[in-house]
Symmetry: C2
Subunit: 653 residues, 2 copies
Amino acid sequence: MICKLKNIHRFDSNHFRINSLFAPGRFQKSILSTNSDICSPTRFSRRFLSSEANATIEPKTGRRRQIFLLSSSIIIGAVLFAVLDHKRTEAEVKKHEISNLTLEFKRGGPKQLPIASHFTDEKDFSIGKPRLVILGSGWGAVSLIKELEKDKYHVTVISPQNYFLFTPLLPSATVGTLEARSLLEPIRGIIKHICAHYLEARATDVCFDEKLVEVSTGPDGDSFYVPYDKLVIAVGSKSITHGIEGIEHCHFLKTINDARAIRKTIMDNIEKASLPTTSSEERKRLLSFVVCGGGPTGVEFAAELYDFLTEDVVKYQFPTVLRKEVQVSIIQGSDHILNTYDKKISDFAEKKFKRDNINVITNARVQKVKEDHIIYKKKNEDEERELKYGLCLWSTGIAMSSLTKKISEKLPEQKNMRALVTDNRLRLMGIPDSSVYAIGDCSTVKNPKLVENLMKFFTDADVDNSGALSYAEFQAMAKKISRKYPITADHLKKANILFATYDKNKSGTLELDELHAMLDDIDKRLTSLPATAQVAHQQGKYLAKKLNKLALERSTAIFPSSTDYSVDGAEKENPDMDDRLEPFNYAHLGSLAYIGNSAVADFGTGYTWTGGWSAVYLWRSIYFSEQVSLRTRVLLALDWTKGSIFGRDISKF
Amino acid sequence: MICKLKNIHRFDSNHFRINSLFAPGRFQKSILSTNSDICSPTRFSRRFLSSEANATIEPKTGRRRQIFLLSSSIIIGAVLFAVLDHKRTEAEVKKHEISNLTLEFKRGGPKQLPIASHFTDEKDFSIGKPRLVILGSGWGAVSLIKELEKDKYHVTVISPQNYFLFTPLLPSATVGTLEARSLLEPIRGIIKHICAHYLEARATDVCFDEKLVEVSTGPDGDSFYVPYDKLVIAVGSKSITHGIEGIEHCHFLKTINDARAIRKTIMDNIEKASLPTTSSEERKRLLSFVVCGGGPTGVEFAAELYDFLTEDVVKYQFPTVLRKEVQVSIIQGSDHILNTYDKKISDFAEKKFKRDNINVITNARVQKVKEDHIIYKKKNEDEERELKYGLCLWSTGIAMSSLTKKISEKLPEQKNMRALVTDNRLRLMGIPDSSVYAIGDCSTVKNPKLVENLMKFFTDADVDNSGALSYAEFQAMAKKISRKYPITADHLKKANILFATYDKNKSGTLELDELHAMLDDIDKRLTSLPATAQVAHQQGKYLAKKLNKLALERSTAIFPSSTDYSVDGAEKENPDMDDRLEPFNYAHLGSLAYIGNSAVADFGTGYTWTGGWSAVYLWRSIYFSEQVSLRTRVLLALDWTKGSIFGRDISKF
């Protein structure tokens, strides 16, 4: 019963044998016999070295070898690990203690709902820890959770999705380049290190006076309150619709179910187009895919879709006429697609799409969406144009979710129509006691109005009371402002140029009116942070570090240790403590987009990268290293490998 | 830009370098740095050899190593293959010629619908080939397609599912042991070798007189006819409901969407049970899973569910009380679960389930299904019992689909209420010209009534006209009958014992009345073939071989070569040609079932295998080798590996 793993010897100088580890099944035999010629070192290296040359060899043989090589490595792995598996899990099961608490909740809050002051399973709840409630399970929430330290807070995460979704790769899931499940990471796994609680529910309202989050478990489910001492709102956004008529005919691409619905529709259309009784006109409509919005999501979807239709669909037994009639269009409001990226990148993407026959319509605004066509107008044109579609993706921007809207309406300090406004310490404006933070897409950091502080800046900086700022005085002021408002740092960086530009009368000093003009100009140039995963990620990280510090300060000095933190016990924290910590500072690391067997990268510092497969690997490697867990990293690598060997799956599921 | 793949050197005696193959990204660096200690041959072998010992090492470290080892092999593979990929596909795209045919169909048939006499893309259609239409994309249809030879028929496959589903592993997909997509194989890939056409549509009726299949493309889609010369019905079955009231509250497990719905409900229930406001009683209900039917599907589902709840759910941050309150029950009508298997196997499974606290209720019949509980009665008891459930799976057997029922009602020869009846050459009873076959779950092979042919058998066998059969004469007769009706072979095998048993008057010969008694007894013992994947698979294979032979005979001799095979041109084949070929003979290869970290196998010949992990590997290896394509084989191996390392995914998607 000696397993035939002889071929492995060649990998390894220490010869070894494996005795009776496995049952003697066809499994091992069949696998190992097929591998024999691949495992040979000469072939292995030859294959590796000649990969360029191999691209031109007879496809069938090449593919077989690829498959064998992959399956051999996979299956050896499978056999190795599975043997070790079950004992470990059995041990883990036994480790668990079981406790049971009866549940009785008092009612309270504005709606007299039950207040969930304790949880079913409170083995890890110690009185004395402040309650931190996190709403959401996206980028902001997860990067916050991952950085939070253990035992600092009694953490509760509330989200209707019990998983984190790796949104930047969502376009890849619409055509099966990646499996939807590879982009998911269960939130209950992420919260494990801080022994947090998770509630699969939707936060529907917040009562800031009594520090209660109103939570609903579904359309016909219960509602109840969850008390908090610190609240983090990270609920994200929904797609903006601009009030367009007929928007319900469009697909969106925000959730994993959106991706699934798109995948199903694409396959539906292709199958319908293949039926003999489908008319030519209808077939063309079914194969016409329209993307409204030329941002990264829209562009990546178009690229992935094009790849799928031209690379994978042709491999199967479909009527060839389909290939000819497929049409992908992008409708973009401004001059260029990817217009938030560097100009070079937009150009590259547009050229690539032109080569691929992807129809890019710029300067166009959608007027209406009908069941089978959209109506749009080009800028400076009165004529309405029509574009038939079989699938229309709407991805033009973001809008407030219902919770965000409700909170915004409740607080007079909240006047922004797109998002909740926070100060530069990410505290929700309008909540005086630093108990509520907002991060990610649902929030925007309020830009400072430097001009409003003109007099203060000037008198503080004018150390010698000369009535004008010398260059040294200006430099010191610029440094101070940069530290207080990190978003202005870029604009105050080149102090000498600034000084020279605004010293209009060439006096060698900056007078009050000259400083006024300068600060006014800077104010105008400040833009709000983009609603990207990167911003949310950094905000979550920043907030976690702050919360860790606050907990530490509280436990060592200011905060009494044995207070009752139930709903009645008010938060006794000094609201100014937060002020002493550094404000949030966003560091842009660059933007990436996949545009169909090529990728583009904009590193924000003026350095861009456009290119073919090298850029794709860069693109993949960056997302790869950003993955939340090792599990999703492995799944991602597997998906990419599967895709390159077997192509994307066309099963309509 | 030399990639840091030094570690690979150790696998290989020929040292080599790879220059500028990849972009220098974090990708390679991070991967290779994590692998450095694994790639070392000493560690590799040490790990491999000491796998027994390792099972007891500190779980965390062990797991990390497992993960590293897997990811290294995967990622090295990924990098290798992906580089070679894109050129190949580009070449394939260019290969395709594009043709476009205008579509005009004449109308006809009983409903005057369009007759799809040609397809959108007819590059591979040559006049002169008979039209073979296959309804379905399950086991029967696929094994038929895979064995069909090229250019023999103009093949059209019609099925509402554009994929083949590997049904025996479906219970594993309900809890994420396997990903649903790993069980699917696109039908358009399977039909490629015979250049067949596929229509994603549902056959709703058959007009046997005009040889037209009526096809509908959806609830509000078109209907049209597809003409055939040979028709194979392989549409499968649906779940039998026994007319139980409230059956709509139950889940079924026949399709991939069923598996998905079950997976979602399980996670829904667990999440709801974790909410603080859920009452104790409600929590117990939500965690109570009831399986109606103790056949392989029900048993495997119960086992998989139990594994998931006890192995994976505990790994995440769930209230521990859940673990205690989970209850899985199986309700079975007869004395034992798995009652079609060997008794030893039933016993083993029952003991295993008892150890696991899976509640097996035998001799019980479900009376009603209510929204949150079922009502059942035990045999010989009047009292109705109640069992609350959070999820109820109904898997008690199969019933006719709507098409099968329609066909059955149309033909007076079809009297069976469960399935279409065929002769032992799989021809549909009631169709005289051998133009329609039925295979798989939707059909049953009619058992011969030997008694009806008593006189013929007797006179044929009584060569010496003695009025009684000598042992030699009886032996010859038994052989003949066995060949003609393979299903009787088992019963006629031991001729000497039979002869002795029925030679009641010990005359040394068999008289007419003695033979009558024997044949009557054999008739009574004949059972119909089970509705299993194995039977469907063998039937498909048998039918393909026959169709290949028929096509050959037709083209060489009997069949005129230039006939018009359109709808008007009648099938001119000699209906008796089929009779000269061998009848279908089912060879039972054994049955398998997975019962939770153990598996059972019944090889049909009295040899059984029950056991722990060795049997699980046997179980996996057999299914593994049965997989339709290399793609699903690799995916399956990957899933099993992923599962053993990361556990099952709990994301509710």
